[in-house]
Structures are given as C-alpha cells and as structure tokens.
Point group: C2
Chain length 224, copies 2
C-alpha cells in the first residue's frame, strides 16, 4: 500500500503555511512529493514558515525554502516593508492594494516549475482562491490558464499548473479543510507577523469571516 | 529632443551581454529604460556581465544585476556546473541538451515582469531566436505567446512580452546588428567562460556560423 501511494507522488506545491495552502497540502498529500516555501522577505515569513515546516513534518513531505532576496531590493510592497506599513481594514478595500507584490504568483510558479522539471515532477499546485481575485490579478482564472499554457509549452515534460481553489471562496476552503481534519491552529495568515494574529489587518478579517461563513469553530488566537 | 526620447522609454530588457541581446539592446535603445542581467551562476556570467555593463554605459541605460542563488542549489544544468561540464560539438547535437536550464526564460521573464510593473514599465524585451527552438522549449513561439498572456493577465498594467527575434535566425541577428553598428567585439557567447571564446563549444560554433552565414566579418578572438 505504501509503495502504491509513493508511486503517484508527482507534484510540487507552493506552500506558505497559511490556511489555504495548508488545506491544499493535506487534500493533495497523496500526490505531493515536494513543498516549496518562498521567502521573499514578507513581514509574516517567520511565523508562516514555522507552520509550513511543522505540517510537512507531520505529513512526511520534503520541504524546501527558496530565498528570493531580489524582492526587497527591486519589487516594492507594504508586505515586505515592515508591519507598520500593513493597512488595517477589510480585505477588499483599496488600501489592501499596497500589499500587492507585483507578479508574485508568476514568479513563484516559474521557479517552482523549473524545480519540478529538474526533479521530474509533473505538476505544480497553488492555492489561490476566488476571494483573491478582486485585488490580485495573478490569482485570477485568466492568469492561471495562461501560466499553465506557458509552463506546459516551456518545459520538456509539459509541467502542469493545478489551482483547484481558483473558483471557490476561502469559506469553502475552511469547509474542505475541516472535513479532512486540517489542524487550522497550525496555519498562519496575519500580514503583520506578530506572535498572535492581530485580528485587524485585511487577511485576519478575511480569515475570521471565512470560519464564520463556513460555520466552523475558529481555533485562532487573535490579539483583539 | 532628449525629453521626447525619454518619454517613450517604457520597457525593460533581459540582457545577458551576449550577441543576441546586445543587438536587441541597440535596436530598441530608444524604448529601453532598464536592462536586467540575471546572474544564475552560469560559467560565463563574469565575461558576459562585463560586456553587459560596458554596453549599457555606452548607451546610458540603467543596468541592474539580479542574483538568483537558488539556481545552483535547486535547478541543475551543465551551464552552472563548471566549464568542464560543457560539451563540445554543434549547437543542435543531443549533448547540448545538458546545457538546458529548466524554464530559465520563464523564471527570468516573471521576475523582469514584476520589476517592470514596480517601475511602471509596459514591456519586457527578450532576445530568444529561431535557432534556439530545437533544444530550448522556453524559446519557442508557443511559449512566448502563452507567457505574454500570463504577464498581461497577471499584472495591473498588463505588462507585455516582446520577443522580436523569435522567428529569425542568429545570422539574421548578426545582419541587423551590423546594419546599426553594434560592436560585436563587446559581446560574449562562450559557455566555457574563458578569457577568449573557446571556439569549440556549441555556442561558439553557432556564433562563428552566424557571422559566416550573414557575410559579416567576425571580430571574435577564438582560442583555436
């Protein structure tokens, strides 16, 4: 049985340690050979990464951290400029626009695609979802389709992009995660990167709302 | 006049310092605000980069070097494994396959796209050409079209990919460069990275052949 499971592990995943990608990691664990966390100097990298390491350890999935130093130097965003720069408010407010990291998913997917081809892995998973569409153009279905085509055309193996949450909401992800027993207490979302979730920034508000809408108890400790 | 020229400088270029991208840099100099050299630890990075710096200095174009340390660690190729690993022979032989760096153009284009959006630049130029198609999937027209679509869809500005040499040969590039006075002596191609071009590796053979086919005198000093 164990050998059969190993044989179909043909995918990598872009894995932050947040709620969305942790749910995807658990859901697709039978197919995931490698989890890749990108450290682009975001405020919350440390807390998220600790969750990422722990979940990979629990599932026995190889985990690597790829450091992208060029972000801080050449691609600006409040997400990489210290926690004071993070706006408080709802996730879809205009002020969340400052948290956009230009073409971040394109960059992470391209590097993951190169690593996947190097290792003979056929797919790269990413956990973008419907709630991201309003603010982040590189989370939308049109981007996902074009990037999938670019990855297939640009590799010998025809590496595929799989983004199964593109058209569902964060509340749907919470429901799916709860159904398969994801330990949400070991996921981290807050853009401020404090010891506890701040409860006030856009991602904290979105996280709370998703649990409420899904009707799933929220195990998160919030500061407020 | 100077101000008019400055006003239309709306593009970045992926610029190695090789023959192809130097010709493109000269040809599109009126539109190029930023030249980006990626250092992914290839054997010939030092020599090529010196040419890149010099040509940008001559044209008054800002030049940045983006270091990509993850390549050496996670994406293998003979191009990043020391000069002894570079095969000798023709450019289209099977043994050149070892010089493929998985999804290199996808990775460089994605990062350049993020930097372009950060700076408000509308396009990214790349100098892939028809002779690369046989070996490198991420140089082909199908990849270029899909990547252009991904960049447009994944950015606020709709950053475009411009690859004007995709369907022409390296000999055609030499002709175009000669016509506009490119100083080919200040370009570097050899995958071995020595003081002079080795004259035997696939890229040196391709370079010699391109000058011969174009009927343009080759100013390159070859070791053999």
């Amino acid at each position: 049985m164990q050998e059969q499971k190993t044989a179909v592990k043909n995918a990598a995943i872009i894995y932050s340690g947040g709620l969305d990608s942790t749910t995807l990691l658990y859901e697709m664990q039978h197919r995931i050979a490698l989890a890749i966390t990108f450290d682009y100097g975001s405020n919350h990298a440390g807390r998220e990464m600790a969750c990422a390491k722990e979940n990979c350890r629990r599932l026995g999935i190889e985990h690597i951290v790829v450091e992208l130093d060029f972000f801080r130097r050449y691609i600006r965003s409040s997400l990489t400029s210290g926690s004071d720069a993070i706006p408080e408010g709802t996730y879809d407010d205009d002020n969340m626009r400052s948290t956009v990291v230009p073409f971040r998913n394109g960059i992470m997917l391209s590097i993951a695609c190169g690593i996947a081809e190097d290792r003979g892995l056929e797919s790269v998973f990413i956990a973008n979802h419907g709630g991201d569409h309003a603010i982040y153009p590189d989370c939308r279905s049109e981007f996902v389709k074009a990037m999938d085509a670019a990855m297939r055309a640009g590799t010998y193996m025809g590496v595929r992009l799989e983004a199964p949450y593109t058209d569902i909401s964060k509340a749907d992800i919470v429901k799916r995660g709860a159904a398969i027993g994801v330990d949400f207490a070991h996921t981290y979302s807050c853009y401020k990167g404090g010891g506890h979730h701040c409860g006030r920034c856009g991602t904290c508000r979105e996280r709370k709302e998703a649990f409420a809408m899904a009707g799933v108890p929220d195990p998160t400790v919030y500061d407020n």
